[in-house]
């Protein structure tokens, strides 16, 4: 075995993050590491890369025990890591990034020619031919990802850890990345692959290990396991029927719509569209990245100002020119990038949950501490937010739990129209199913939801109506029985559309 982990344990105040976990990685294999949020994947990886010190257990690399105290030490030992949010410097050139810390020198100065030549040579092994003198930030996430891999392999060269490498890539880029990973596998590297995308796990990995609540559940050859069994290992329960539930909200059709947006649009951002929202309705918004999905949401919530159009409900015109007005009109919005636009990382879970409510009440009418605690406790229980305390800074929670906190913030406002932009991106299967269940629940009480998602299954499962957006235009609308993955893909890929679909 290239890498063996024996009964690894790591404890944090209040939680046992890892309990006696075993893990083996052979040279020339891709080993997928799976588990829900908080299962211990990140902790395991951080123990490997020296970001955390383990409490107990041993790690053997090529049969020799190692104990990396820093990422630099782990790299020197041969363990390189590439993270989802690429850990490179976007304002340096590609060549500088690739040779950072080991620049070729001439008379004590950095030899730029040799630096560029070396960078080109490195990237050529991956079949990439780009201008290495340009800033890394000028390239797509996929290229940055490959540069990060090239750097990690160059420095370390035994074990490569890929932590959610595909989260922000489209289908073609994923294909390119996978061919590179396969090539590295043939060269004899051991690769640990962490991903929430089960399709990708089945496509790429040779073996997989499932963690749950800090314990190892199973290690199996990927071809010996099927999807249903894998999911039940991850969730620790038999999977419920995930087929499309016959939603009951369709009666809203007969009634007058609750909200009407007419000719809402913004020059150069999205063409004017009409949208009617019924009570308790779930409207899906499908389309490729950059097609105008998020822009639609931003216009409705007043994040961008509309150049045309108006909104009205039964009582008359509504103004929604900025988020405060939109909130006053009873709208809510959970943005796509929860880290940047959603959570306030250093404030507690409690403060994050009450933030919108407090902002609406105004500074002079503070919620009492008792009321805050009651609300926080209520939503922590309702949404099953995993946190040791309501006073823990929200930045310390895992991604799925952060998403639930942002959701709780809006549920506490009891809006009539909630916009969810990619609510399940980057979160695990369990939280995923829970959020879909939650959408179902809140709409039963009359709240309407606009669900933006790249995952067609999700739209098919949750929506009463799906609007397809393409090239900054609302191009099609599907409802009832006509909502199927095929129909959505078909609508997205109408003549002139790109040949690959990110959502598929």
């Amino acid at each position: 075995m290239l890498l063996s982990i024996r009964s690894l344990s790591k404890e944090f105040p209040g939680t046992k993050a890892l309990q006696g976990v075993d893990f083996d990685l052979a040279a020339g294999e891709v080993h997928a590491l799976l588990g829900e949020n908080g299962a211990g994947k990140s902790t395991l990886i951080k123990c490997l890369t020296g970001a955390y010190r383990r409490d107990a257990g041993e790690i053997l690399l090529d049969g020799a025990p190692i104990d990396p105290a820093s990422t630099a030490e782990a790299q020197a030992l041969g363990i390189g890591t590439v993270y989802q949010e690429v850990n490179l410097l976007p304002n340096l050139t590609v060549a500088q990034n690739l040779t950072f810390g080991r620049e070729p020198r001439r008379f004590g100065m950095v030899d730029r020619k040799a630096q560029s030549a070396k960078a080109r040579e490195l990237l050529a092994q991956y079949g990439i031919d780009i201008d290495v003198e340009r800033d890394l930030g000028a390239y797509s996430v996929a290229i940055r990802q490959i540069v990060a891999i090239a750097r990690a392999v160059e420095i370390s060269g035994k074990v490569l850890i890929l932590d959610e490498p595909t989260a922000s890539l489209d289908a073609a880029e994923v294909k390119m990345l996978f061919s590179i990973v396969r090539k590295l596998r043939e060269q004899g590297l051991g690769i640990i692959f962490v991903s929430h995308f089960l399709d990708q796990v089945f496509e790429l990995s040779d073996r997989l290990t499932v963690l749950r609540n800090g314990r190892k559940i199973v290690t199996e050859r990927t071809r010996d396991i099927d999807r249903l069994r894998l999911i039940s290992y991850m969730l620790g329960r038999e999977l419920e029927e995930t087929a499309r539930e016959q939603r009951t909200a369709s009666n809203s059709k007969d009634q007058k719509p609750m909200l009407r947006f007419e000719q809402l649009g913004c020059k150069g951002v999205i063409e004017p569209f009409n949208l009617e929202v019924g009570k308790g309705e779930v409207i899906g918004l499908a389309g490729l990245l950059g097609s105008g999905r998020t822009e639609t949401a931003e216009l409705i919530f007043g994040v961008r100002s509309a150049s045309t159009g108006a909104a009205e409900d039964d009582t008359g015109k509504i103004s929604h020119g900025n988020p405060r007005e939109a909130i006053a009109a009873g709208f809510g919005f959970t943005p796509e990038d929860r880290k940047v636009d959603g959570i306030v990382a250093e404030l507690s879970v409690r403060e994050n949950i009450i933030l919108a409510l407090q902002a609406r009440r105004g500074w002079a009418a503070p919620l009492s501490r008792a009321e805050q605690e009651r609300l926080a406790e209520h939503y922590i229980r309702l949404l099953d937010i995993r946190t040791s305390s309501a006073d823990k800074p929200v930045g310390e929670l895992s991604g799925g739990n952060q998403q639930k906190v942002v959701l709780a913030r809006w549920l506490a406002m009891n809006p009539r129209f909630l916009i969810l932009d990619e609510p399940t991106r980057g979160i695990d299967v369990g939280a995923h199913a829970e959020i879909l269940r939650l959408i179902n629940e809140i709409t039963r009480e009359g709240m309407a939801v606009l669900l933006i998602s790249s995952e067609l299954d999700e739209l098919v499962a949750a929506c009463d109506r799906v609007i397809v957006v393409r090239d900054r235009r609302h191009v099609a609308q599907l409802s009832g029985e006509r909502i199927t993955s095929e129909a959505i893909v078909h609508a997205i890929a109408q003549p002139g559309a790109a040949s690959h679909t990110e959502a598929a």
Partner: protein, 338 residues
């Protein structure tokens, strides 16, 4: 209350150590006596002289909590002082003079706040504009001279005392308490912290970040105007060139020594106030201890450096690590010796 106390414990310990250090060189430092009308003694002097920095520190804490900084406060002190002196000599009376001086401070804050929150200029640059140009404005008001006055009512703000306690002391403590209560008894404190940590997310949650930012800079201008009135009243004259000179840096230092992060977010006004006291204790202590005056700034710099190094979170981690190492070694020794 317990939480607040725990938060400022390092600052209290530091203050105690500084006082102890000063007492070693000047044993009578803690002696306080009553001379018939007021308390006198080095400690009373520290409490009085820390007024300008403490007042500036109150506003600066709020500005820094929003991830900003206000470099103009020293200049705003000069402007407000000049306005007060000009108004009192022009016959506007005490209320008029104080009102106009505070108005000038609020106006300066409004200007800074609009540049930061609406125009979107980085706070350090936006407030630098007023920091450099403001002294010119103050000079225009005083017509380039030191504008003196003799009104005893205004002079009271600098040298008067109530129940034996210097008025400046009462003013800064009262301002700090009122502002701290306003922050924590209402939701202002949390909203300011949320804006400082993540303005985009706060705005999406409906927090009126723009108004909040402007208000914070106006609060800073208000505090600076109070400090300006005290400084002017103390010397019975407005010196446009020297009033509040470099005090913005002492105010920032007080915030930092008070344990507040320059990156914004969580803040403690109590921490800043102790920071201001630490700075003034060092200033007064150096003078009292009788070192040649050319050493003053060097000694102050060394002490501040020591304090900041001791408070750095990196060092705290190292300290914990060292402690656990020692513990482990001791345990080893014990297990080896039967």
């Amino acid at each position: 209350m317990g939480q607040t106390f725990r938060r400022i414990t390092p600052q209290l310990v530091t203050l105690a150590l500084v006082v102890l250090l000063v007492t070693v060189f000047f044993p009578n430092f803690l002696a306080v006596s009553f001379d018939g009308t007021r308390f006198v003694g080095p400690v009373v002097d520290v409490l009085k002289r820390s007024a300008p920095v403490a007042l500036l520190g109150v506003g600066m804490t709020l500005v820094i909590a929003t991830r900003g900084i206000d470099l103009s406060v020293g200049t705003v002190m000069a402007i407000s002082g000049a306005v007060a002196a000009w108004a009192i000599t022009s016959g506007y009376g005490l209320v008029g003079a104080v009102g106009l001086a505070i108005g000038a401070g609020l106006l300066a804050g409004l200007w800074n706040g609009c540049l930061v929150a609406i125009v979107g200029i980085q706070p350090i640059v936006a407030t630098l504009i007023l920091m450099t140009s403001g002294r010119g404005i103050a000079q225009l008001i005083t017509e380039g001279r030191i504008l003196t006055f003799s009104d005893p009512n205004l002079a009271f703000a600098g040298s008067g005392s109530v129940l034996g306690v210097p008025f400046p002391t009462i003013l800064w403590i009262a301002t700090a308490v009122v502002v701290a209560l306003l922050m924590r008894r209402t939701a202002l404190g949390m909203l300011i912290e949320a804006t400082g940590i993540n303005r985009a997310a706060s705005a999406l949650a409906g927090v009126n970040a723009t108004v909040l930012l402007i208000a914070v800079y106006m609060a800073s201008g208000f505090c600076a105007s109070l400090a300006g009135i005290v400084a002017t009243a103390d010397i019975r004259g407005a010196d446009a060139n020297n009033a509040g000179l470099w005090l913005e840096l002492d105010a920032i230092l007080a915030v930092v020594i008070g344990g507040n992060s320059l990156l914004g977010g969580r803040f403690s006004i109590a921490g800043t106030m102790i920071g201001a006291l630490i700075i003034q204790t060092i200033n007064t202590g150096i003078m009292l201890s009788g070192f040649p005056s050319e050493y003053n700034l060097v000694i102050k710099a060394v002490l501040v450096l020591i304090i900041l190094v001791l408070q750095s979170p990196n060092l705290a981690a190292d300290w914990l690590f060292l402690k656990s190492m020692l513990k482990a070694r001791r345990a080893n020794v014990r297990s080896e010796t039967p």
